[in-house]
Amino acid sequence: MRSSFVSFTLNGEEKELLIAPGQRLVDVLREQCGAMGTRNGCGQGGCGACTVHVDAVPMLSCLVLAELAEGCDILTIEGAARDRTLHALQEAFVAEAATQCGFCTAGMIMAAKALLDRDPAPQREAVVEALSGNVCRCTGYEPIIAAVLAAAAMLARLPAAAA
C-alpha cells in the first residue's frame, strides 16, 4: 500500500498532501497541516472536540478518512476568524466566560457556527441541540449556551456583509 496525494481546501487555502493510507482527517489536519486547534479528545466520535466543517457540514474529523476529503472544502477553528478578526462566536465565548481549560472550545465553536450559518437567530433549544454532541467538563454548559445566543445577537446587529 502506498501513500497517495489528496487535495482539499483548508480554510480557503488549497492543499495537496501526500497521505499514508487510512489516515484520519484529524491527524492529517494536526500533523501535516499544523491545524492544532482541532483537538483529539476520544477517537470515538463522542466528545466533539475534533469538529470541523466538511463542505459546510460539521463532522467529527476523528471518524473521517482523509482520502475521502478529496476535493472537499474544509474549515477548522483556524479559519473561523477572518483577517485576524475574531468571529462573533469567538468574541462571545470570551465575553461570556465560556472557556475554562479550552480543550472543547474549538469543537464547540465549530458546532455552534454550523448552527448560526444555517439559523442566524436560533432559539435556546436549537442551541442546546446543536451543542449536544460536544462534551465540556469544566463550564456546566450554561456559559456556552449564553455565548452562542450572544453571538447570534451580535451578528444580527452587524451589516450582512461583515457577518
Binding site: 463522542g46 466566560a97 475554562q100 481549560c101 442551541v127 442546546v128 449536544s132 463550564t139 456546566g140 454548559y141
Partner: protein, 337 residues
C-alpha cells in the same frame, strides 16, 4: 404521569490545601528593560484560570497594570518549584509566593524610582496604571518603563523578587488524630429544586441556588465559573456518574462519553449564587480555594430534594432512576413509617 417536586439543602465546608507532606510553592519575578514583569513559575493551569489569577495578584502588589504582567510556566528547567495544582492549594500557595516575590520586586522598583525622582522610596506610590508618583505631589512622577530602563542601563540593578510560601508539614498523632491538615476553610450552602417522575424514577434538577464564602473573590467572574461548572459536576455525580454501574461488580464499565453518563446541555438546571467574603488570615488578600468544593454541596442537596419530593431516600450514589424506582416500589408495598 406523576411528577413530584421537592427542595433540599446542604451546607458544607472545604479545606484549602492538604499539607501532610509539607506544602511549598515558589515564584520568581523580574522586570524587563521596558517595565514589564515576568512571573516565572512551574505551576500548572488546569483550565481553572491560574495564569489570570496570578497575573492579578502580581499586578496588585507591583502596582502595575495586569497587561504588563507575563506569566511564564511551567518548565522545570526555568521555573522554581511548585508542589502542583490540587487540593485547592494553587491560589493560596502560589498567590502567597507571588506576593512575597512581588513585594521584593516592587521595593527594588521604588528604590530606582526614588533615586530618579530624588525622594525616598517610602514617599512613593504606584497608580496601578504604569506610573510611580511622589505621594501628595501631583505631577512629580516617573513611568514604570523609565524606572526599569534606568535600573538596567543607568544603575545596573535588577528589579526582581523571590517568593516562597510553605505550609509546614503536619505529622498526625496516630493515637488521637491530632493534626493541622489545612490552611483555612471555605463554606457553601446549596438549595436544590428537583422534579421526580415517580413512574420511571427519573430526576430532573430544576434549580441550584448557592451561597459561597470564599475569603476573597480575586476574580469574581472566575469564581462564578467554578460555581456554575462545579454545580453541574455535582449534579452529574449525584444522578449519573460511575465507572462501575453495578459496583462492586465490574460489569458494563463505560468506555466512552455515551456510556459514561453526564448531563448534557439539555439537562442543566438554572444556576444562581451569591458570594460572601470573610478573608482568611493566611490567604492572598484573604482568598481561600474554591476549585474543588463547588461540586460537593449540590450532591446532598439533590439527594435531600428527592426525598422531599417523593419520600424515599437513596443513600447510594449515583441516584439512578433504577435505584429510585426500586425504592418507590418498596415504599408502595411497605406502609410508610
Amino acid at each position: 404521569m406523576t411528577r413530584l417536586r421537592g427542595r433540599g439543602i446542604s451546607a458544607v465546608n472545604y479545606p484549602t490545601g492538604m499539607n501532610l507532606g509539607g506544602d511549598p510553592s515558589q515564584a520568581l519575578i523580574h522586570a524587563t528593560t521596558t517595565g514589564n514583569f515576568v512571573v516565572t513559575l512551574s505551576s500548572v493551569d488546569l483550565g481553572q484560570g491560574l495564569r489570570t489569577i496570578m497575573t492579578q495578584i502580581a499586578a496588585e502588589v507591583l502596582g502595575v497594570p495586569p497587561e504588563s504582567v507575563i506569566i511564564d510556566t511551567a518548565d522545570t528547567d526555568t521555573g522554581p518549584h511548585c508542589m502542583g495544582t490540587f487540593a485547592s492549594r494553587a491560589t493560596h500557595r502560589i498567590g502567597n509566593a507571588i506576593i512575597m516575590a512581588a513585594t521584593e520586586a516592587r521595593n527594588a522598583l521604588l528604590d530606582v524610582a526614588g533615586e530618579e525622582l530624588e525622594v525616598a522610596a517610602a514617599d512613593l506610590e504606584t497608580d496601578g496604571d504604569g506610573r510611580i508618583a511622589v505621594k501628595g505631589v501631583p505631577g512629580k512622577s516617573i513611568s514604570v518603563l523609565d524606572a526599569a530602563l534606568a535600573a538596567h542601563f543607568k544603575y545596573g540593578r535588577t528589579i526582581s523578587g523571590r517568593g516562597i510560601y510553605l505550609k509546614p508539614r503536619s505529622y498526625p498523632d496516630f493515637e488521637t488524630g491530632a493534626m493541622d491538615p489545612d490552611s483555612c476553610q471555605a463554606h457553601a450552602c446549596t438549595i436544590a429544586e428537583v422534579e421526580v417522575d415517580t413512574e420511571t424514577g427519573e430526576v430532573r434538577v430544576l434549580k441550584l441556588t448557592s451561597a459561597y464564602e470564599i475569603g476573597r473573590a480575586l476574580n469574581p467572574m472566575m469564581v462564578e465559573q467554578q460555581i456554575v461548572g462545579g454545580s453541574w459536576m455535582g449534579m452529574s455525580h449525584a444522578l449519573y456518574e460511575t465507572t462501575e454501574p453495578y459496583y462492586p461488580d465490574r460489569a458494563h464499565g463505560p468506555v466512552d462519553f455515551a456510556e459514561y453518563l453526564m448531563p448534557g446541555p439539555a439537562d442543566i438546571p438554572q444556576y444562581d449564587a451569591v458570594i460572601l467574603e470573610r478573608p482568611s488570615a493566611s490567604g492572598p488578600f484573604g482568598a481561600k480555594g474554591i476549585g474543588e468544593m463547588t461540586a460537593n454541596s449540590p450532591i446532598p442537596a439533590i439527594a435531600n430534594a428527592i426525598f422531599d419530593a417523593c419520600g424515599v431516600r437513596i443513600d447510594e450514589l449515583p441516584i439512578t432512576p433504577e435505584k429510585l424506582l426500586r425504592a418507590l416500589d418498596a415504599a408502595a408495598v411497605a406502609p410508610r413509617r
